[in-house]
Subunit: 252 residues, 2 copies
């Protein structure tokens, strides 16, 4: 980032900033080798320790990665773009497309693990779904893999009283998926709430998503409501933050 | 979380899960002391190491925090709820309210640092704002503090050619803020794009936001467009993930 005002940050930060800017502008692309310590010492007239600190800033941020004996390289960040609002628009799932297909842009997002079961609801889910006393939920747990790397865990909860006997309780929900089946049952999703948080993964999540160290997860809790405001699904998603950009486009 | 199917996870994970569930259900509130190693050993019939591991899972997740000599406590997570779509609705900023006011819910979010300057645009911003050759931007850098703790860094970029001479170039933008001024200048924001990522903070960000270890930042890049689709502002925000829930509500 260029600064025309005074810049009081330490030298290593400014060197890191100018390398980061060069990466963001495309001067160094994913997988490219960055200037090494010797190069930085010569270019900026700094000590080895300063050059090393500059590179370690970019490593700590996940922008660059060291490869033993070979140098420091721009980390490949080729995230999925998840468009929160268009992807749920009715014209998409309404004519039988998966709600995930707009994320793909020619890249294959595949379910590699899927379980469906009937369970008692976690308290937080029961509260959102407004379940009566002992009412159970249909739980669909899926793991999504991109280019062989797991990127997303998604667990959907739907009231058993709504979906019992439908394809939603089967592994294959059929053409159009869960939302099309809900519409057929008279519970067409009309409104959505997405709540987003981020934190470090639990060990279990890090294992399931094969995550690199120093990478957080993004949590999305999506609730689907019918036109009358009845909650019909809670979907708790855990995303590898290194694999995703979320996008929401909307009008004033 | 209750499991009626088989659970093959290690014992310490299951103990951590049931403590987490008790926290989420409100059985243990923020600041409450959790059962100690001795309690867990007695309750679950496990070894000290297993009890310790269970508690360390919750600490690693940021759900609990150890206090020296006093035990392990539920971490106070009292996040701001940032409603992405309602908060930008015209009826809000249109009658002079700050776009931040819906976030507050009786809590004071205050700007404690503010600089305004004219600078050359970072390449990524220049590309989004579609700037001509050497065109500069008005840069507004703000830090927001909640209950004395910094939670948000926001840097807005606006083309100098649009805003020169207006209150947008002053520290105090006046009633209704930047968006009301843009409207007066004939560049009323009508569409918004918000792009969201998460990563670990840089050292500089961690310092500016007084962040705890093991806490990521959420990055939001918001672009404001006029009705004709002209980009008029890029706002790069860095949020302490432990302080925020983002919410987007929308129709199918």
């Amino acid at each position: 980032m260029a600064h025309t005002d005074g810049d009081r940050r330490p030298k290593y930060q400014r060197i890191a900033d100018s390398l980061r800017e060069a990466i963001q502008s495309g001067e160094y692309g994913p997988g490219d080798r960055l200037p090494g310590e010797n190069d930085l010492m010569a270019t900026y007239g700094v000590a080895r320790m300063t050059a090393r600190q500059a590179l370690s800033v970019l490593r700590d941020e996940g922008v660059a990665e060291a490869r033993k004996g070979a140098g420091v390289f721009v980390r490949a960040f080729r995230p999925l773009r998840r468009r929160g609002i268009q992807r749920l628009a009715e014209q998409q799932w309404g004519n039988g497309r998966s709600i995930w297909s707009t994320d793909l842009e020619n890249r294959m997002l595949e379910v590699d693990q899927l379980t469906v079961s009937e369970e008692s609801a976690p308290n937080r889910v029961g509260a959102v779904l407004d379940l009566a006393g002992e009412e159970t939920v249909c739980v669909r747990r899926r793991r999504f893999v991109l280019d062989g790397k797991p990127v997303l865990l998604a667990t959907s909860y739907l009231p058993t009283s709504l979906v019992a006997g439908s394809a939603i309780t089967q592994e294959d929900t059929g053409q159009g998926g869960t939302y099309t089946r809900l519409a057929e049952l008279g519970y067409k999703p009309a409104h959505f709430r997405e709540e987003i948080r981020s934190r470090m993964p639990s060990k279990d999540e890090a294992t399931q998503l094969s995550m690199s160290a120093g990478t957080p997860v993004i949590l999305i809790c999506r609730t689907a409501f019918t036109d009358e405001g009845r909650p019909v699904e809670v979907n708790e998603m855990t995303l590898d933050a290194a694999s995703y950009i979320l996008e929401y486009d909307f009008d004033a």
